[in-house]
Structures are given as structure tokens and as C-alpha cells.
């Protein structure tokens, strides 16, 4: 067997036509969103710096297993919204709400 060594250096760089500060925020957010919005129509967002921590929280929550997300929602003030739902349904509802919150934070 031949072992071939490789190197890869990945830079997350600004590419959008907006101010330098927001370019970075938007670029990072877009990278985050690539994982949340698998599908033919990725959502374009511009996130303010002050919301960045919340974006990360939502992203981390979004990728947790269905059962974990469902449990969080059932223990929150939103528990009535998922009453009677399976874990899978509750998680789908929560993930949709995460995306909506991100849209609400967007400047576009």
C-alpha cells in the first residue's frame, strides 16, 4: 500500500460586497449556515457582530440529536408548542425556529 501525504489550509475569508467588518461576520455566518441549510437554496444572511454569539449557539443546537433538541424545547417556556409531538417532530419544529431567528437577526 502506498501512503500519500497531503496538506490542506482552509481560510475563511470575506467575499461579500459589504463593509469589511460585516464581510467577516457574513462570511463566517454563511459558512455556518451551509451546514444548517443543506439544499438547493442556501439562505443569504448578514449578521451583526453583536449577534454572532447567538448565531454560534443556534448552530451548535441545530446539530444536536433530535432527542436532545426535543428535550431542550420541552424544558423551555416553549414546551406547549411541541406538546404531543414526537422527538423528531419537536426537533424539526425547533430547527425551523432557529432558522427563523437567524433570518430575523439578518440585516437583509
Amino acid at each position: 500500500m502506498t501512503v500519500k501525504q497531503a496538506e490542506c489550509h482552509i481560510a475563511i475569508l470575506p467575499t461579500l460586497g459589504i463593509s469589511p467588518t460585516r464581510k467577516r461576520m457574513a462570511e463566517v455566518s454563511m459558512d455556518i449556515f451551509a451546514g444548517m441549510c443543506a439544499g438547493p437554496q442556501p439562505i443569504k444572511l448578514v449578521i451583526k457582530g453583536k449577534n454572532f454569539r447567538r448565531v454560534m449557539e443556534l448552530m451548535t443546537l441545530h446539530e444536536k440529536p433530535d432527542a436532545d433538541i426535543a428535550q431542550r424545547v420541552r424544558e423551555s417556556v416553549l414546551s406547549s408548542e411541541v406538546e404531543g409531538m414526537t422527538d423528531e417532530e419537536a426537533a424539526a419544529w425547533a430547527r425551523a425556529s432557529f432558522v427563523q431567528e437567524l433570518k430575523d437577526m439578518s440585516e437583509e
Binding site: 500519500k4 501525504q5 497531503a6 442556501p42
Partner: protein, 132 residues
């Protein structure tokens, strides 16, 4: 005046995304691009599989790198082609569009039957641009 994310915030992001979460390397014969589209670009068949990447406990100066060698399965029964890019994905399901980052290999590698692609410790690094 400098503008952009602080170093601490860049590091926090990198730790959240590349250490706290389980991430997988996926090698490709074409650029997954910003669209994170893996279909038709990721290697397939001949024992190819996405492989977990382990990153360090902390990110320094806005970058993070692998702390264990990433050893993909050796190609078996055929070629994986000329590998040009690596994507970092959130699942090990092949062809799923779950890439969160991607980059071009410093040098493309032809992976033929029996060849194994390995990234040594520190040879995958992800950086967020510093303040301008």
C-alpha cells in the same frame, strides 16, 4: 482602527465548530465551493469513506488544526481519482451537502487502487481572517 472579529472570538468560533462538534474529512476531485455542494465532487466507491478529524483543545491566533493524523481508508478495487480538495463536513454520510469548510490541497494527489491518503498532524488547518 482595526475592524472585524477579535482574536478571542475567532478562536471561540473555531473551537465551537471544529472541536466541540464531531467533524469528518471528505476528499474531492473538484472544488466543493462556497455552495458546499459535495455531489459529484466527493470521491466515491472503492472503499472510500469520510474520516473523523480531531482538532486541538484550543485555537491560537484565529486558527485550528488537526491533532491526530487523519488516515482515510486505502482505495480498494479501483481508483479514487486525482484528489484536489478537502472538505470538512458535519456527517459521515457520503455525498451529503454538509460541508462547513473546504480548501484546496497544497498538492493534488492521485489515489489509485491500494493508495491511502493521510493528513499528518497539523496538516489540516482552518483560519479565520484577522482584523483589517
Amino acid at each position: 482602527m482595526a475592524s472585524g472579529l477579535t482574536t478571542a472570538e475567532r478562536n471561540r468560533f473555531l473551537i465551537e465548530r471544529f472541536k466541540t462538534l464531531t467533524i469528518y474529512g471528505a476528499y474531492c476531485t473538484a472544488d466543493p465551493s462556497d455552495a458546499a455542494s459535495m455531489s459529484g465532487k466527493e470521491a466515491t466507491g472503492s472503499a472510500y469513506a469520510r474520516t473523523e478529524i480531531t482538532c486541538g483543545d484550543d485555537a491560537a491566533a484565529g486558527s485550528i488544526s488537526n491533532t491526530a493524523a487523519v488516515e482515510f481508508p486505502a482505495a480498494s478495487g479501483g481508483s479514487h481519482g486525482l484528489i484536489t480538495h478537502l472538505a470538512i463536513c458535519t456527517t459521515d454520510v457520503e455525498d451529503a451537502d454538509t460541508a462547513i469548510a473546504s480548501g484546496i490541497l497544497t498538492a493534488s494527489k492521485q489515489i489509485d487502487d491500494g493508495d491511502q491518503l493521510v493528513f499528518a498532524i497539523g496538516n489540516i488547518d482552518v483560519a479565520i481572517a484577522a482584523q483589517a
